[in-house]
């Protein structure tokens, strides 16, 4: 749990560092440049458009190419390559305020702006992309009062754009039969008669317009009447007429024309029937979209909710069903579906409503001079699942989702395998893994939707089966005890060049194997930390076999088997001990294991005595010599450094297996960051040669024995039991750990085979041991092709592309591929690994199927490396290492457009 949080935090930090743009915190007064894949200003649509924002206003607006040339360079650029940017939406109707609780049927006194909480926290509304709303005193009275236009966020004093934008007239059925008005008598005394309540109109549809006209007539003589209606009517405010029936629409239109009033209608689909008439009268409409299967109006019939084509409607605006801002996206989607070009719908929720409500000088568009109210959408806004990624109001970040972990990539073709592709499909990426693949996948809220575009071809990231990216000239031979991951860090320029070529993973292997064995490690070519680039420290055991005599390999596996046995025994003993302890049985305590005291009689002790050791090479400028006393007991040895006399006792312990010496130099305290390790081979009766290593440094060591009498020192034996009889684990031996993992079938083996007769022996050896293995080919292998096919041995193809030494029939890639052999490509290079796709292309030239080449770079390689459970496929649960190509990767004219490693795009 905690780790997850930490990881996310770490990821966030890295993101901040890498893409300083979008994460920069904007302070008041700061300007910035916003660049986006699509920009709709409310008036026009611009591909790769950008905005310059200073002091909360838009100062420039246009295509990026145009804006870029004018930039002074003092502004941060926020780049959203996949986002769709629109002005903050303007909802021409909302339920944030009202309906008022006053009693009057006709009164101009109620002002919606009174009910708007200027200090209120309306941020949750911003998640709908709406930044400006019309607030309404209600539609429950014939004349409910005055509407207003306000922003949802901002300085309290500045939120109100229009205190009084309109007079709200309603022709809805709910206005009929209002309660009578009761005047409270004053003074409260028996002298004062209590008047009966005053009746209010309208009583029904027939008297609505009449009541309105009556009220106007009355207000002409009595200034105070109807909430000072005369005053507000006289100001010439537009009328906002809410009407859903044709009769009312006609009636009100006639009255407005009579009185010479301007205004607009708020209506549902019914209004389409008098569209032409309204256009002629110049009366715009706020179209309130009805939801399907809405409530049946009282006494009415369920209306159809379909709309005619909306393209021709002039400058109309949209209002969400039920005035619920949460339904705004539905209204947009539905309206867009009835338009020839869905993009037109943006104006319906930005510029048109702003214009209708008289606030178009500030909001509703992003042309120079407008308020910088901006919504950055994760997808085209007329898609049902689209949501804002950021909302800016007056140039300040006002809202952003709490977490943005998901990405959806949409591509024309998703290449799953040679016989399975999804056309017009999507891949959902969450937390760096592929979470879903399909025609239409889930869109978690606020996920970034990335469109591959026309001809896009989504394939898994390519895998290099053998390379040295990150070794950076490190040429020392490395054995099974070395750990390459220590060389890795944050990916740099070299890694970036490889990643951008499409190679997202590589088996990192040493340049030279020590005594024919070493380990490899699968590393990502991009990532912000070592931890993010690797999954495990050892991914694979690498072996070299150059003759059919596999005795060295045998010896190695022999040691490994013993080592494994000691662990198995320990596990068993521990299990037994636990069982006994739990059962309360007596635990028998063994005496300290007495290891043989004396050297074996018949054999001469090969090690005991005084050794002169010379250390040279590596980081050591001049050879150094030391005198060491060694004592061999059984297969364990222990020694002390005598000359030069160390300031503290330096102990050397280790084992002698055959002629192989492995040990650790134990230096007390924290003098050294790590314990140096010795690996040596007894090369003669009194000599040894090997290497001494610490961390990633290593030096060669040579030694000669000068005396067979060891200097005596106190030998401490390792106990095999703890004080309470708990068995102690065997000593961990780094060099045998990879082999143990192989024997436990946790990691596979890759064998570099050379020599004519070697392959059959290798195949036999590993097949018998049931160890999963693959082979690197050399030229001789063409004679063994049937063996490979017969045993289905996975093959890593060599760097040289052809084998045409008199054997034209055998081009390994083609031949083996067609025979159903799992293939992989390797680069044997550092940043030269970026030529790996080219290498595969050569094989396509040689006749390999394009899909087979793609398979070899992805599934095949993953299988060879034993990592097919996490890389090389576009499947749920796999690492999101993906490439967006234009066209099939191995077709002429195709190009790689974008690279994602762990779901994060690799930047140029």
């Amino acid at each position: 749990m905690l780790t997850g949080k930490l990881l996310r935090f770490a990821g966030l930090l890295i993101l901040c560092v890498l893409f300083a743009g979008p994460s920069t915190d904007l302070q008041a007064g700061d300007g910035f440049v916003l660049r986006a894949g699509h920009l709709h200003t409310g008036l026009r649509s611009i591909a790769d458009g950008s905005l310059v924002i200073r002091e909360g206003k838009v100062t420039h607006c246009g295509p990026w190419a145009e804006i870029e040339s004018q930039l002074q360079g003092d502004l941060p650029v926020l780049h959203w390559p996949d986002a769709y940017v629109t002005p903050g939406m303007v909802s021409a109707s909302s339920a944030v305020v009202g309906p008022h609780r006053g009693q009057d049927s006709i009164s101009a006194a109620y002002r919606a702006v009174d009910g708007y909480n200027t200090y209120g926290d309306h941020r949750p509304f911003l998640a709908t992309g709406v930044t400006t709303i019309h607030v309404n005193p209600g539609e429950h009275r014939l004349l409910s009062g005055q509407g207003a236009v306000v922003k949802l966020v901002g300085q309290p004093q500045g939120r109100v754009l229009s205190k009084s934008s309109d007079l709200a007239i309603s022709m809805q059925d709910s206005v009929d039969n209002p309660d009578a008005l009761l005047e409270i008598p004053f003074p409260a005394s028996s002298d004062v008669q209590i008047e009966p309540p005053t009746d209010q109109r309208p009583k029904g549809r027939i008297s609505r317009i009449l009541a309105l006209k009556e009220a106007l007539a009355k207000s002409a003589t009595d200034q105070q009447a109807h909430g000072e209606l005369a005053r507000y009517w006289g100001e010439g405010k537009p009328l906002r007429v809410s009407a859903d029936s044709l009769a009312d629409l006609h009636g009100m239109l006639a009255m407005m024309q009579d009185q010479g009033r301007n205004g607009y209608f708020v209506s549902d689909g019914t209004v389409a029937e008098i569209e032409g008439k309204l256009a002629k009268a110049g009366v715009p409409v706020v179209l309130r979209m009805n939801v399907p299967q809405g409530d049946t109006p009282p006494g009415g019939v369920l209306k159809s909710w379909g709309f005619p084509t909306l393209d021709s409607s002039p400058e109309w605006a949209l209002a969400p069903p039920g005035d619920d801002l949460g339904n705004m996206s539905w209204a947009i989607t539905e309206a867009a579906a009835h338009m020839e070009n869905p993009e037109n719908v943006i104006s319906w929720v930005t510029h048109h409503p702003a214009k209708i409500m008289g606030v178009e000088d500030r909001v509703g568009h992003l042309e120079p001079g407008a308020d910088a109210d901006i919504v950055v959408w994760n997808d085209r806004p007329w898609h049902l699942h689209s949501r804002p990624l950021e909302v800016f109001v007056e140039g300040l970040r006002a809202w952003q989702p709490q977490e943005k972990t998901a990405t959806v990539i949409h591509a024309d073709t998703i290449w799953i395998s040679s016989d399975h592709q999804i056309h017009d499909g999507e891949v959902l990426i969450e937390n760096g893994k592929i979470a879903a693949v399909g025609q239409r996948v889930a869109h978690p809220p606020h996920c970034q939707v990335i469109y591959g575009g026309n001809g896009s071809y989504l394939v898994p990231g390519f895998i290099d089966c053998y390379g040295h990216l990150g070794l950076q000239g490190e040429a020392a031979s490395m054995g099974t005890g070395d750990r390459l991951h220590r060389l890795l860090g944050v990916s740099g320029a070299a890694e970036n060049s490889v990643a951008l070529a499409g190679v997202t993973s590589q088996l990192l292997a040493p340049r030279r194997l020590q005594r024919g064995a070493g380990v490899g490690l699968i590393a990502k070519t991009a990532g912000g930390s070592r931890a993010s680039r690797i999954d495990e420290e050892v991914s694979m055991l690498l072996l070299q076999a150059s003759s059919s005599d596999l005795s060295a390999m045998n010896r190695l596996f022999g040691q490994a088997q013993k080592y494994l046995d000691s662990w198995n025994k320990y596990d068993k003993d521990l299990e037994e001990w636990k069982r006994k302890k739990a059962a309360g049985e007596e635990i028998e305590k063994k005496k300290e294991v007495e290891v043989e005291k004396a050297p074996e009689e018949k054999l001469e002790d090969p090690l005991t005595g005084i050794w002169e050791l010379t250390v040279s090479g590596g980081p050591i400028p001049e050879p150094e010599t030391a005198t060491v006393s060694m004592q061999l007991t059984g297969s364990n040895f222990e020694g002390r450094v005598i000359e030069p006399a160390p300031p503290m006792p330096v102990r050397i312990t280790g084992t002698l297996e055959g002629t192989t010496l492995q040990g650790t130099i134990e230096v007390p305290g924290d003098v050294l960051p790590d314990s140096p390790k010795i690996e040596a081979e007894l090369t003669g009766e009194d000599s040894l040669t090997g290497k001494i290593s610490i961390l990633t440094f290593s030096a060669d060591i040579q030694g000669t024995r000068t005396s067979k009498e060891a200097k005596t020192f106190k030998v401490t034996r390792r106990k095999k039991q703890d004080d309470d009889g708990k068995p102690l684990p065997p000593r961990v031996r780094a060099n045998l750990e990879p082999l143990r993992a192989v024997l436990e079938k946790k990691i596979p083996v890759m064998v570099n085979v050379s020599g004519f007769q070697t392959l059959p022996a290798v195949v036999k050896y590993f097949t018998e041991k049931e160890i999963s293995f693959s082979v690197q080919l050399d030229n001789d292998m063409r004679f063994q092709r049937d063996l490979l096919v017969e045993n289905k041995v996975p093959v890593v193809l060599p760097m040289s592309s052809s084998f045409n030494i008199g054997d034209d029939a055998y081009v390994p890639a083609t031949f083996l591929g067609r025979a159903g052999i799992t293939l992989g490509f390797m680069s044997l290079a550092e940043d030269g690994a970026r030529r790996l796709p080219h290498r595969a292309r050569q094989e396509v030239v040689n006749g390999m199927a394009a899909d087979a080449a793609l398979e070899a770079l992805t599934h095949g390689a993953a299988r060879v490396l034993g990592a097919h459970d996490r890389i090389g496929h576009i499947h749920k649960g796999m690492d999101a290492d993906l490439l967006i190509w234009k066209g099939h990767p191995f077709e002429t004219g195709s190009r790689l457009e974008r690279v994602f490693v762990h779901g994060e795009e690799v930047q140029q």
Binding site: R101, R111, A112, N117, P124, Q223, Q224
Partner: protein, 531 residues
Amino acid sequence: MSTLTHKMLIFSVIFSVILLTFGAHSDLQGQSSPKVALTGGKIITVSGAPIDGGTILIEDGIILAVGDGGMAIPYDAMEVDCTGMILAPGFVDAHNPGGLDIPNENLAVAPFVDVFDAIAPSRFFFEEALRNGVTTVHVMQGNNCVVGGVSRVVHPIGLSPDEMTRLPGLALKMSSSPKGGYDRLRHRAELRGVFSEFDRWHSDLSETRYDQESEKNEDLNPLPPEEARAEGKALIREEDLDDRHRHLAYLNDGRLAAWIHCGAATDVAPALDMIEKRGWTGRAVLVLSGDAHVAVNEIAASKVPVVLGADLIHRERDLITGDVEETFIPEVFRKKGVPFAIQVGSSNVLPERYLNYQAARLVRNGLSPEKAMRTITLGAAEICGVADHYGSIEKDKAANIVMWTGDPLEMTSWVQKVWIEGQLAYDREKDARLERLFPEMPEEDAEKSEPLSDDASTDAEPMPAENGESAVDSDAVESGDKEADEAKPEPLNKDKKSQDSEAEPAPAPKPAPEPKPEPAPGIDSGIKGGL
């Protein structure tokens, strides 16, 4: 002095039954002579530095002089030894509807009402105010109104609202936050409606008055309506005002202050707008509650003082993150330099109903004890506009003085005596209600650290009347006793002096003594309610 106390005790016994209903305070009125000298106590003047062992000389309810121990005491002054005690000005409760029998909050628009009609002198509220050191209460109706009634400043003693009243007609209460059952649209529409209707009535009246005057007076020429209205404003007489508009007219011409309740930050701007547009600047106060403190910048710019709600801490949950943020409201205003007073709560279970507890909360949250003390005395008096009479111990101010057993902001201190306008208005020793709550017990039992147990032996020992006398009279508050006092558990109703008397017995509840029959000379009954 001892004779006086003795007499008083005899009175107590004789008239106790009849006068029980008048509460604890009335029995003590009139026991002081016109001249009183309070000597030996530590005086917290609030307006200046505290004086140790100082003397306050009171004549006719007014502080004649405040000085140190060396000040000469007139021969005819009754001297009260306050050694070991703390003398502080009585607290000023800046806004409290607690003294009202029925708050006038049913009618939304009721500028014609006056709290005078609803003040109930017998309410427990006033008794309790006295017991806790409050000597001045601004009685104002609550926040649940559009335009409420007129408030007044009263003393918590007196038998009628007239007797209690010190300043009638201080301010008109209004609210810019919705009344119960209203929303903001309806509320503000009505609030605007009140003043737009008043303006019309007022200008019509002005015109009529000008026309009337011009008919009588030949110097005045008939004028067109606009000019007649402007000229006629000055001609409006008291008798021209009708009941409905009278208080609004007073508000209009500056005789009443405007106290406006804002229950949320969004209601502050409309209130300030109204204050500015209607010319109430300088006599307006905002009564805040809810999150209104968020609008502190606007309030600070307008220089309008505020009265804060009793719940001094505001908690708000962030809608996005869900984090709860806590704000200590007085700190917000202190930082911006806005003068503020604090209200007490109305709950009977929370200590927020004590002004000194509220002030102690200020100290706990960072205010200095001096400033906290000032907030509930002089500061509150300034906001109410009565600082020239109340809120501090200064020459020429009303002698509203409270004798505390310790620091008034300590919860373990209590009020021992209260003088209002120089008269002893409260004495804890004679507090009948406390005696009923905590019957005294013999000293031996008290020493057994069972101060509140109702021991059977209490009845065994009769209490001689002289005991009370010796308790008050012993003058034995010696500094040496202090440690002994602290170590000893003591009955709550006993003051420190009584610790010294031997064998303080506790009889059954002592009936409240009788007040002096004649009306208190210090109370100016000439001041009547209404204007």
